[in-house]
Each structure stands twice: as structure tokens, then as C-alpha cells.
Amino acid sequence: MEFSFIPIILSLKVALAAVIIVACSSIPIAGLMAKREFLGKDVVESVITLPLVLPPSVVGFMLLVVFGKNGPLGKLLEQWFHTRIVFTLAGAVIAAAVVSFPLMYQSVKAAIESVDQNLEKAARTLGARELRVFFTITLPLAWNGIVAGLVLAFARSLGEFGATLMIAGNIPGKTQTMPLAIYFANESGDTGQASILVVIMTVFSFLAIYGLNRWGKRPKRDSRGDSA
């Protein structure tokens, strides 16, 4: 069998879309969770982090329940937009976004919490409204954590298998991403295709982690105090 690049392209598409969704949702949510106290905050936080510890098959099952033909969201989408999530690339994106969200969320929240509150107070005494404080002080100073979260979320999305298989299925050329292609190539005895994909995934994951570690260690010009 000839080597196919399609799973790589599909994986990149899924991971990119998932990371965009995760970035847009996790930054405001992490910002609110880091700054506000409210009733049931711990419960919300636990629910948000749950996909990190649940088996992907459980996440996949839940997504099927929600987005399936008779699921609440699945029904709405079918009736209003005549679209389906199950067995489409959109399903793979949703699965990847759900499982990678907690990684991004935790990274961003920790970064936001580590920003010196005196700097935010100083900005307020200088006349800044909360949104301006967030965008000009908190976010730029939390930037390292945000980048780390983006890389982790991207890597996790790229590697998503279980939930993707359950909600998007394994349709070659349509929803078969790299991890699925590896599994089914190996199952059918096509170790050549599997090996190439395994090498690509491993090299990419290594580079992501290595790059992150290097990034974390680089000397910071914009650190506080004299410890440049």
C-alpha cells in the first residue's frame, strides 16, 4: 500500500481548529476563574478539569450522548442547520477540543494567578478599567503560560484517539487522523504506513516538549526586579 499524507493533513486541520476553539474559550474562562469568587466555583473547576482524568472513551461516549442523532445538541443542529457532528471532521475537532481544554485552561490559569497583583492594582490607580488591565497587564505578563498551554493543547489534540474514534469514527480520507491511521494500519498488517506515522508523531511530540522546556528556561528581559 502506498503512503498516504491525508491522515497528517486531517490531523493538522483538527488540531489547529481545536486549538483555536480552546484558546478562545479557555483564556476568558481562566481569567474569570482566577479573579472571581462565586458559589460552586470548585464544582465548576472540577467539571472543567474532568476530561484530563477521564478515559477518552468516556468522553467520547458523553459526546455521542450530547451530539448524537437523539442528543439535545445533535437534534438542534440537525433541525436548524441540517448538519451532523457524528462521523464528521467537526466531531473530531470537538473531541480534540474537549480533551485538550483542561491542559490549556490549567496552564493559563496558573499563569494569570502568578501575575503580581500589585501591577494590576497599579494599573487601576492609573485609571484603567478591568478589561484594559486584563489585556495590557495580565495577559502580556501571563504570555509564557499561554504559549505553553497552546503547545500542550496542540500536541494533545494531535494525539487524540479514543474520543475521536467514538464520535468521528474511522473514515479514511474523511475523519481518519494520524493516531487512528496508525492503529488501523497496524491492525491490517501495514506496518510501513504505521511506522512512518509513528516516527512523525514522536518527532513532533518530542520537538513540542523540547521547545517548551527551552522556552521556559530562556532568560527573560521582562522579568520583575533586578534578577534579569
Partner: protein
């Protein structure tokens, strides 16, 4: 009266209870650490909320527990110099100073440019540096410049000189005094150093465990 505050606030080990007023010059709040000095400044600025009382700045009630008034920090027109300077580490000196510049049409008294303020505090040559590339004394000047740029009606200084060496300290003490005369707005200065309070304060209030201990009214009125 340019400034009046009569407030109470419950703190973990004692209750803060102060009644202070200031018409001009520098009010020095002196006392050991943990006496409630910073809490007073933060209540005045709006960074903390008193449990009871009233704060007036320039004839405007910015906080009143009785009338449920609590004007947001950004509308109090207060300059605040933090103990650790709180300069934004990711911005140049110039960007730091410009951060609080009032927008056009928002009732500025003076027409200020960054250059005016940087020149006044002798830090023009630092405008493109980052906070971690300048000395402690320079940081202090930048923090002052940044606070003055907002054209405040009252300037609060929290231990502004405590982290500096003796020489820088005396230079800045003199400059603070000059600055106050020049700027013509009241300053409230928090310090644990009685000598500094005596040198700078037109009025001195001693604080201990949240209570006003002794008040030295100044005789020399500029």
C-alpha cells in the same frame, strides 16, 4: 479641606480606626510595620473598602458607608506610588509613564507630556529602558512620574524610599519636598522611619495597631 477621611476597618488582629484630614503639604503616617498604614492608603485609593466611614477628596465624597457611595478607583483621581514601585516589567519607562495619561477632554488641569514629567524627574535619558535595566532610585522616579502623569488631586506614597541606599534616599527626600511645593497637591506619605516623617511631614500622624497615637501639627506652612 483638600482631604478628609474618617474610617474604620476590621483587620485580622485589630480594628483600624482613624480620623485624618489635610489641607496642603505632606501628611506623614508613621508607625511600625503592621500598624495599618498601607491599609489606610489602599482604602483612600479604593483598593480596599473600609467597613465604616467617609472619605472626601477635594470636596468630593469618594466613599461613604452611610450613603453607600464607593467611587471606583479609576475615578478617584489619586496618584499611588507602591512600595515595590509596581512598574510594568514588560513596558519601557516611557510606556509606563504614559499608561495613566488622561484621555483628551477628561478635565486635565495641566497640559502634560511625557517629556515634561520625565524631565522634571530627571529620567529622560531612561525613556527606552525597561524597569529591570534601571536602579532602585530611578525606578522610584519612574513610579513618581507615572503617578503624576495622571494629574492626580492627591498623591499617596507607600514607603517610597525604604528600599533605597542612604544617599539616594536623601536626594529623593529633598526632591519629594520640592515636587510637592511645585505640584501643589497634598501628599500622604507612609513610612516606618520617624526621621523621614519629621523631615518631610508638614503634619505627622503616628499609628500603632490601627489607632492614631499622637499627632504633630506642623508650624511651618510653606
Amino acid at each position: 479641606m483638600m482631604f478628609k477621611a474618617h474610617i474604620r476597618k476590621k483587620l485580622p488582629i485589630f480594628e483600624l480606626d482613624v480620623d485624618i484630614s489635610l489641607s496642603h503639604g505632606i501628611l506623614a503616617l508613621v508607625g511600625p510595620s503592621g500598624a495599618g498604614k498601607t491599609t489606610i492608603l489602599q482604602c483612600v485609593a479604593g483598593l480596599q473598602t473600609p467597613s465604616w466611614g467617609e472619605i472626601n477628596i477635594h470636596g468630593k465624597t469618594v466613599f461613604s458607608s452611610e450613603h453607600g457611595a464607593n467611587i471606583p478607583i479609576r475615578n478617584r483621581r489619586i496618584g499611588y506610588v507602591f512600595q515595590d514601585y509596581a512598574l510594568f516589567p514588560h513596558m519601557t519607562v516611557e510606556k509606563n509613564v504614559m499608561y495613566g495619561k488622561p484621555r483628551k477632554g477628561s478635565t486635565p488641569n495641566k497640559v502634560l507630556t511625557a517629556s515634561n514629567v520625565l524631565e522634571l524627574l530627571k529620567i529622560e535619558h531612561l525613556r527606552n529602558r525597561y524597569p529591570n535595566q534601571i536602579s532602585g532610585g530611578e525606578k522610584q522616579r519612574v513610579a513618581l512620574a507615572r503617578a503624576l502623569m495622571t494629574e492626580p488631586e492627591l498623591l499617596l506614597l507607600d514607603e517610597p524610599l525604604s528600599a533605597l541606599d542612604q544617599d539616594t534616599r536623601s536626594t529623593l527626600q529633598q526632591e519629594l519636598h520640592k515636587l510637592q511645593v511645585q505640584w501643589q497637591i497634598p501628599f500622604i506619605l507612609v513610612t516606618h522611619d520617624l526621621q523621614e516623617a519629621e523631615m518631610l511631614g508638614d503634619q505627622i500622624i503616628k499609628l500603632d495597631r490601627g489607632k492614631q497615637e499622637a499627632i504633630k501639627k506642623s508650624t511651618n506652612t510653606q
